[in-house]
């Protein structure tokens, strides 16, 4: 059962009609296959055209889609093995940020990422993917291990932002994020970050200060949520669509600005329509990127990473370089 987004309503209506026809034709003699074919083609066309022309705000909805694949789904579908590691050794275990040893098509890596959760219970357990200081400090710990054992770091970023709460502030949310960013930059091994859903502000940067930053086709990445930006600059959250447009939050915009390096294509209708295909594309992209970075020394890797961030925004925008997807 697909849950439809507001702008997908016309598609939903067509798909419902198709399902109805199918059900009605069961056991009947009338041949409706021509009509079904016609409707299916129309529906597919509509989906293609809708997703070709998604506005930044619509993409934000897709990126937040409740059925969108999350960290745990990718663990299942992209990696051959996963050994989760837990705890920051100071305060606790934060399940908003997960990580551990993983194998990507035969290659040993360290995998870290945000997990939003799927149902009410797991969403609460994972705090909706909003990391606390202990989560970022766990990430730092894992990056340190990765560095010492020569493991490339792969991160999957999917958070509306770091958790805004009293305890998080008390335990140094800002310091934890800053140190996590620092740990990314210090890594002696390759690091590839992928924004798979939402890349929300500092809570995302802390796991995305990598030499290669990828984004799924309909993911968004921004300094503040469109709602937050709208309520500050337009004084009403209802202007979120305008804020999303103005801030340039889409993968396509960010590739043009040189903020991300590669867009990983999603199936027509978004990652949630075909998680397996999304996982396949993500795995292919990660493999290619890791291949390209292998053999570089720690010094070279750090230099690439540093130059990347020192240069962002200071030069003419780069043209989008799209090497995968449709």
């Amino acid at each position: 059962m697909i849950s439809y987004l507001e702008f997908e309503k016309p598609v939903a209506a067509l798909e419902a009609r198709i399902a109805e026809l199918r059900a009605a034709s069961q056991g009947e003699d009338v041949d409706i296959s021509a009509e079904l074919k016609r409707l299916e083609a129309k529906s597919a066309d509509l989906l293609v055209n809708t997703y070709k022309a998604l506005t930044p705000w619509q993409k934000t909805q897709v990126a937040r889609h409740p059925a969108r694949p999350h960290f745990s789904d990718y663990v299942e579908m992209v990696f051959d093995d996963f050994v989760p590691l837990g705890g920051d050794r100071h305060f606790g275990e934060d399940e908003a940020i997960l990580g551990g040893f993983a194998t990507l098509r035969g290659r040993k890596i360290m995998l870290i990422g945000h997990e939003k959760g799927r149902d009410t219970q797991s969403r609460i357990r994972h705090n909706f993917g909003m990391g606390k200081p202990e989560g970022y400090r766990k990430a730092i710990r894992l990056m340190d291990i990765a560095g010492r054992f020569g493991l490339p770091v792969v991160t999957l970023v999917d958070t509306s932002g770091a958790f805004p709460g009293i305890e998080a502030e008390e335990r140094g949310q800002a310091e934890a994020i800053a140190r996590s960013t620092e740990a990314c930059l210090a890594l002696p091994t390759p690091m590839i970050a992928t924004i798979v859903g939402e890349g929300g502000s500092g809570g995302a940067v802390a796991l995305a200060s990598a030499e290669r930053v990828l984004m799924l086709e309909h993911a968004v990445y921004s300094v503040i949520s469109p709602e937050g930006c709208a309520s500050i600059l337009w004084r009403t959250a209802e202007k979120a669509p305008q804020a999303a447009e103005a801030m340039k939050v889409t993968a396509q915009d960010l590739a043009e600005l040189g903020v991300i390096d590669r867009i990983v294509g999603e199936p027509i209708g978004g990652a949630h329509r075909d998680a397996a295909a999304t996982a396949q594309a993500l795995g292919d992209a990660l493999e290619e990127e890791l291949d390209a970075l292998s053999g570089k020394s720690a010094k070279q890797l750090r230099r690439i990473r540093e130059d990347r961030f020192l240069r962002i925004g200071e030069h003419k925008p780069r043209r989008e370089k799209r090497r995968s997807g449709t």
Partner: protein, 282 residues
């Protein structure tokens, strides 16, 4: 006409010596009317309630550095890279901010000495678009760090910002790792990096270079945090504790080394630089 204006107008002898608008200021802490000259002489700290007022870049530099320091030129950056517009054009907001400010953006760097010790000082100015961090702030921070590396001296940064400059979208966010590249380089070069947290320091600025100092000094009462108080309140729907996110609270929770009144910041910095003098090159 406010009562103050009326009082001023009834004292014509004062108007001859002073611009009336500059004669008195109201303390934002205790609402007392303070004699401007007295307030200035006290480094913009209220003599009654000790409230540390927000101050501009030049005032701050003058309070920290010995006379004769040199301002670094503001780096050239792409202006309004997103052609951003909300209810107003960002380009117009920038123009307006510049009209009211001595510097082209919110981060100003100077090289000089602090009680005789060589240092580069970068100050963030809250009066310039809330001190917000965009390309210009990031580039100025980098320029300051580069100068410290060149001069082989400490880098002192005074932070004051509401966070990232939303009108530069993701590019403002990218200033976090950018600044962090430089704090790492200072560390590798064995040079001290000291942060003075002024009111307010929040958002992405706190979550990057403001929390990466070798030593963190905070001004009394300064608001310092990652998330805004309104956002936190909306999320947890609980009353915030007394003194939450204030300098003293951060000190209690181990996030800053010391809370230092403005009058003692210069001598404190000098002392820290003395202890953290760069090791002689081997």
């Amino acid at each position: 006409m406010s009562w103050l204006t009326r009082v001023r107008n009834s004292l014509p002898f004062l108007e001859k010596r002073e611009t009336p608008d500059n004669l008195w200021v109201k303390c934002p802490g205790c609402s007392e009317m303070l004699f401007t000259r007295e307030y200035e002489a006290n480094l913009y700290v209220c003599p009654r309630c000790e409230h540390h007022g927000r101050i501009g870049a030049d005032t701050r530099l003058g309070q920290i550095l010995d006379p004769g320091y040199a301002l670094l030129p503001a780096p050239e950056v792409r202006e309004d890279p997103l052609k951003f517009r909300d209810s107003k054009r960002y380009a117009d907001r920038l123009k307006q901010a510049r009209a009211n400010n001595a510097h082209p953006d919110a981060f100003t760097v100077a090289a000089g000495t602090i009680e005789g010790q060589k240092a580069v000082v970068g100050v963030q100015d809250f009066t310039f678009m809330g001190g917000s961090m965009g390309l210009a702030v990031g580039a100025a921070f980098v320029a300051g760090a580069e100068r410290a590396l060149e001069d082989k001296c400490g880098y002192v940064v005074v932070t004051a910002a509401g966070g990232a400059r939303m009108q530069e979208g993701i590019l403002s966010l990218m200033q976090m790792p950018k600044a962090t590249v430089m704090t790492r380089r200072l560390k590798e070069a064995g040079l001290p990096y000291i942060v003075v947290l002024a009111d307010p320091t929040t958002g992405g600025v706190t979550a990057s270079y403001a929390m990466l100092g070798d030593v963190h000094i905070a001004e009394p009462g300064a608001l310092i945090g990652f998330a805004g108080q309104r956002v936190i309140q909306e999320t947890i729907r609980e009353k915030l504790p007394e003194g939450f996110q204030r300098a003293e609270y951060l000190h209690e929770h181990g996030m800053v080394d010391m809370v230092v009144p403005r009058a003692e910041i210069r001598s404190t910095l000098a002392k820290l630089l003395h202890y953290m003098s760069p090791a002689e090159a081997a």
